[in-house]
Amino acid sequence: MTAFGKTPSLTRPQGAPVYLDYQATTPCDPRVVDAMLPWFTEKFGNPHSRNHRYGWEAEEAVEQAREQVADIIGADSKEVIFTSGATESNNLALKGVAHFYKDKKNHIVTVVTEHKCVLDTCRHLEQEGFTVTYLPVKADGLVDMDELDAAITDKTVIVSVMAVNNEIGVIQPLAEIGALCRKKGAFFHTDCAQAVGKIPLDVNAMNIDLMSISGHKLYGPKGIGALYVRRRPRIRLVPLITGGGQERGMRSGTLATPLCVGLGMACAIAKAEMGAEAEKLKRLNQRLLGGLQQRLPEIYVNGHLDHRIPGNLNISFAFVEGEGLMMGVKDLAVSSGSACTSASLEPSYVLRALGLDAEMAHTSLRFGMGRFTTDEDIDFAIDHIVEAVEHLRAMSPLWDMHLDGVDIKSIQWAEH
């Protein structure tokens, strides 16, 4: 019980699958929706209108939301600008900084397991003539600090390392990375879409210069995010969107008052409830993993087991193909790292970056638990997964070979 009252529960529509995909998105907290509603109708003013009460009250609401966002990351509200989401924030941070400082520095350092919106932005910057170093990760998904140290040169303008990976949930050592970047004179940007509201963050203690935030990953609305931009020492950006000069000239366009209010409320609730929520999720995580391990041999957790957010589990079920498994667990909403679920037919690049064989990457499922996940959901999931894996292993020629002691790697497979 916090200042925001008892955490509400959400009822699942009849026949809907159990939702275990909280890294894809989260439902809006009903308390967030309640806070947003008046700003659609009676309080509809343009927060940039300076001439009347409609504008003033909207501006006040937006500024309160900005403070709530700043508060959860230990920033000043003047350092927070609203965007359409973490993808835009990542674009603005990387392109904005690279373009502003391009006459002095032309090198960017990032990591191969970053979200596509960081990697793709870096690709675009490479086409413009910037040099990008894509660092590998260790088998547990974490960055090697010595390699990062070696990669940063006096030409490095910005280092971009995500806080929490969206597929495997591992937490990068932000404070160490921040200290290193500060020492070497490179800006530190971190994509915190999966981290805000899940783990404690402090932009000053961690020497973070730019931070991307997403609304819909922390029980806020979709279509809104934020970018933290340090003011002391000041970081300059070339804006992506120009116009009326809103958001201190870094992001023009009329702010969406209800969405800003929603993001602010989501941050305030998360700050108050993060500790208790993490405890609950840790318990659910252990319940799920323990329950599966007890009943299924040959399952492997992908990513560091301890340096990860408690709401994530990524498991490879050896000898069972991920998409086939997803079809078997149709009463669960989960994601797979299998090729077959992607348009590219390539297995997850994040899992491959851990050094996982393609065949193990094909057998993975990602379980995302969150605020509204219950013990009953987890128990249901365990039964459902065990049943599906046993059904599919009984059908799997690879499982037979494993039982017969045949090393699958010793067979000459005809790749197709």
Partner: protein
């Protein structure tokens, strides 16, 4: 991705899952695909003295479409001669299961599995005369 009702039916109630004795002279075994590619099919046929496929079994590691394709072909090859079975085309499988374009490779793999099983049987039973000559 939405699956056709036939794919779901074969996935949930696969026909002829299992194994035949691969050392039996009348049994041909085809193993196609690769774990790294996300699908492996093992298809076995038991051929009578008259050259008719009297039984078929499969095991498949793969997505729903791969499982359904192999399950379907075990039904189709039963009662057929080797030549009839060899004439089954991947397009027939894809059409029967209403596979989307991205899943066509599953039907191709099933066709390959039939051909591999027939080739294995012919080799074992010494009927692979064309190749021997």
């Amino acid at each position: 991705m939405a699956y056709s009702d036939k794919v779901i039916d074969h996935y949930e109630h696969p026909r002829n899952v299992g194994a035949l004795d691969k050392d039996d002279a009348g049994v041909g075994t085809g193993l196609v695909g690769a774990p790294a590619c996300g699908d492996v099919m093992k298809l076995q046929i038991k051929v009578s003295a008259e050259g008719i496929i009297e039984d078929a079994k499969f095991k498949t590691f793969g997505c729903g479409s791969a499982i359904a394709s192999s399950s379907l072909v075990t039904e189709w090859v039963k009662g057929k001669t080797l030549d009839e079975a060899a004439s089954i085309k991947n397009t027939d499988i894809a059409q029967e299961l209403a596979l989307p374009p991205v899943k066509i490779h599953c039907s191709v793999l099933a066709e390959d599995a039939i051909k591999a099983a027939i080739a294995d049987y012919k080799k074992k039973s010494g009927k692979d005369t064309e190749a021997a000559e």
